[in-house]
């Protein structure tokens, strides 16, 4: 289809030599060769590669999951939400997971998390709502965040129709989706929006200032580089200059003054990821602000390395995701300090 792809493999072994300096997990390090290569320098191509691979790996939702596509009309635009509802008769109101995909604010789609949504719905017996939020650069901040807020509100208001328990909603975000998830939690807190039971974050993209040690150090890591981060923020912030004092906390949640009052949070970080240290900083500050937090840095991993789903460390990551969501949403009551 694309002649540039044919040249990708020799290039892959070149990149592998480049990556040898990172003591990646053996399986993860070798597997990096199997990942699609698309740079953020070329946004249309980046989206096309993601779309093509998502479609190639796609399978229809299993028979025990009802997949619906819902258009939420709002003023001037429409947000699309995909719902994944277990069909088995059981509880009338299930917990829900609002799923925010990754893609550096410029790419990715519900297609890219379709498999994950089906897995979560069946493994946990929960309703998954995956948001097709608008992407930069066509739709810079706050378009994507507004869409996520609309989706969360809809999920809460229409809980009865959707078979959702509105007191048990997790917001789940990976990478750029993780940044949106924290921003959404901050905005919900400040504006008195729907309650969030759990904030589930994987390698969240939080800080436009790009000054952390990991951001400076990981210029050529597999999965994500400091250059990718730079391009991502430039597109997402639109007319606002990245790194300037004008960047609002809802755009870059690392700039929030306090995290006090945020829901209990789970944070998964990857060792060789430029975003690692802004994640650790979020963890440190959340704990200082008395947010209930579980944090896990997976060794030898890189940004998005869980795509190598068969690897041992990826299996641990996936098992923990299920265990944490189950513990918070399905099992037992949350114990809050008084």
């Amino acid at each position: 289809m694309d002649s540039r792809d044919s040249a990708a493999a020799p290039d892959a072994s070149h990149r592998h030599r480049l990556w040898r300096k990172y003591p990646l997990d053996e399986e993860i390090g070798a597997g990096a060769i199997l990942l699609a290569d698309a740079t953020l320098d070329d946004v249309p191509r980046f989206r096309e590669v993601w779309r093509r691979i998502s479609l190639a790996g796609a399978r229809p939702a299993p028979a025990n999951v009802d997949h619906q596509i819902v258009e939420l009309g709002t003023e001037g635009s429409a947000v699309t939400v995909h719902t994944y509802t277990p069909v088995a008769a059981g509880r009338s109101a299930r917990p829900a997971v609002l799923l925010l995909h990754g893609g550096a604010f410029v790419g990715g789609s519900v297609e890219s998390v379709h498999g994950q949504a089906c897995d979560l719905a069946t493994a946990l017996d929960v309703v998954v709502a995956a948001v097709e939020y608008r992407l930069a650069p066509e739709h810079p901040y706050p378009a994507g965040l507004d869409d996520c807020a609309v989706a969360l509100e809809w999920l809460t208001e229409r809980a009865d129709d959707l078979g959702v328990d509105p007191s048990s909603i997790a917001v789940h975000g990976t990478s750029a989706g993780g940044g949106l998830a924290v921003a959404l939690a901050l905005r919900t807190r400040d504006e008195g929006g729907p309650s969030i039971r759990l904030l589930f974050l994987v390698s969240p993209e939080l800080d436009d200032r790009l000054e952390t040690e990991s951001m400076r150090k990981y210029r050529d890591t597999p999965g994500f580089t400091s250059r990718d981060a730079q391009i991502s923020w430039k597109h997402y912030l639109g007319d606002i200059t990245p790194g300037s004092p004008d960047v609002p906390p809802y755009a870059a949640p690392a700039r929030a003054e306090t995290y006090a009052g945020l829901p209990p949070t789970y944070l998964a970080l990857m060792e060789f990821d430029p975003l690692r240290d802004e994640g650790l900083e979020l963890a440190r500050r959340m704990l200082a602000d008395d947010v209930r937090l579980e944090v896990h840095l997976f060794p030898g991993t890189f940004h998005g390395s869980s795509a190598l789903h068969y690897a041992e460390v990826s299996q641990r990551e996936a098992a923990e995701e299920i265990a944490v969501l189950r513990r918070r949403l399905v099992g037992g009551q949350d114990v809050q300090p008084t």
Partner: protein, 374 residues
């Protein structure tokens, strides 16, 4: 930004897919992946269950999601046997065009794998108990085989053992052992540990590399490295053999180490193979050597600053044959060489123009060294 897994079945060109397969398995080998990782990788890339039967009878099976499967599937349609291990892909239905390539790379790379997790940084010291186990002639073969695999070494592959010592103080030997591991790691598989006062290093050629030149490569790497000039480090290189013959190799390495003389500056390397029948001199009781007056003189000289230089001069003269070449090797004028040799002739009551006395001198140096390195 590259966060999505490509599937071979969806790649645009078969050439690209083939190159990725090769690069992927090469990378697994290069990163010392375990057998489990290699089987999981093969299953994932083939999008079908894959399995491996190792020469010790262990069977590993994983499906394409990375889940471990038990037992041996009856309908393994594609299999390949390489070097005592059997690798297979359980393809239901028509084979994929790349199955043959995947299976071939899978089988080859699997031969390089260890069953257990390998030492992550080969330049770090290994667990001494594992090293002790593989070097012990009293341990059963099966135990040593398991320990070798645990260290990421192949029991059947050629190996060379190196014994390392640093003066009398055992604790300091970690540094030259680590340096040696560092020197060798880029060219061969190495593991090392400190066993009491002596450092033990085992080296194996990387898969596909020649085994004949292993000892020479090891010796050249030591001689050409910082180790050669690091004061007082001594190295004994053992007789090569398979890793399961490591106890014999280790004995000869330790014996060779006894022939390595402590130097005032620089290191000393002795290869067991080079010693020939002289290696049996090591069996003589040190007390017996010390009963000889010339040996006692050499021992005494070794402990003095000027005497140690005299010994260097004598050794250089004995191995190089002329005043001029000995002087050149020590950056010393040949007249200084001559005056130091004259002093030694007097102390030892020998005449270095007579072949029989030269032999005496050489034998005395060995004897003094063996008496010092017990």
């Amino acid at each position: 930004m590259k966060a999505l897994l490509l599937k071979l079945s969806t790649m645009d060109s078969e050439t690209e897919a083939a190159l990725r397969v090769i690069a992927y398995f090469d990378a697994l080998a290069m990163r010392s992946a375990t057998a489990e990782m290699i089987v999981r990788g093969a299953a994932a890339i083939a999008e079908a269950p894959a399995g491996l039967a190792l020469s010790d009878g262990t069977t590993l099976r994983f499906d394409s999601s990375g889940a471990r499967l038990s037992g041996r599937s009856p309908d393994a349609v594609l299999e390949e046997t390489v070097g005592g291990i059997r690798a297979w892909i359980e393809r239901a239905g028509d084979p994929n065009p790349l199955d043959a390539l995947v299976l071939e790379r899978f089988a080859i790379v699997a031969t390089t794998a260890s069953r257990e997790r390998p030492v992550r940084q080969p330049t770090e010291l290994s667990d001494p108990t594992s090293l002790e186990l593989i070097l012990s002639g009293r341990e059963p073969l099966a135990e040593r085989s398991v320990a070798l695999r645990r260290l990421g070494l192949s029991p059947d592959a050629a190996s060379v053992l190196i014994a390392v010592a640093l003066d009398d103080d055992g604790a300091g030997v970690d540094a030259p052992v680590e340096e040696l591991l560092h020197q060798l790691a880029s060219t061969m598989k190495v593991r090392g540990a400190r066993l009491g006062p002596v450092g033990a290093v085992i080296a194996q050629p990387n898969p596909g590399r020649e085994t004949e030149t292993l000892v020479r490569t090891v010796r050249d790497l030591i001689a050409g490295s910082r180790l050669a000039s690091s004061a007082r480090a001594r190295f004994g290189i053992g007789v090569p053999g398979t890793a399961l013959e490591a106890p014999t190799g280790w004995d000869s390495a330790r014996t060779a180490l006894r022939f390595a003389r402590r130097r005032a500056s620089g290191s000393s390397i002795v290869d067991a193979d080079d010693l020939g029948p002289m290696i049996h001199l090591a069996q003589v009781e040190p007390e017996r050597w010390m009963s000889d007056p010339r040996v006692r003189v050499l021992r005494e000289l070794a402990g003095q600053e000027s005497g140690a230089v005299d010994l260097e001069v004598l050794e250089a003269y004995l191995s190089l044959g002329t005043l001029r070449t000995a002087g050149q090797s020590l950056h010393m004028h040949h007249s200084s060489v001559a005056s130091r040799l004259a002093r030694l002739e007097e102390r030892l009551d020998l005449d270095f123009t007579l072949p029989s006395d030269l032999f005496q001198a050489r034998l005395c140096i060995y004897a003094a060294t063996l008496a010092a390195n017990r």
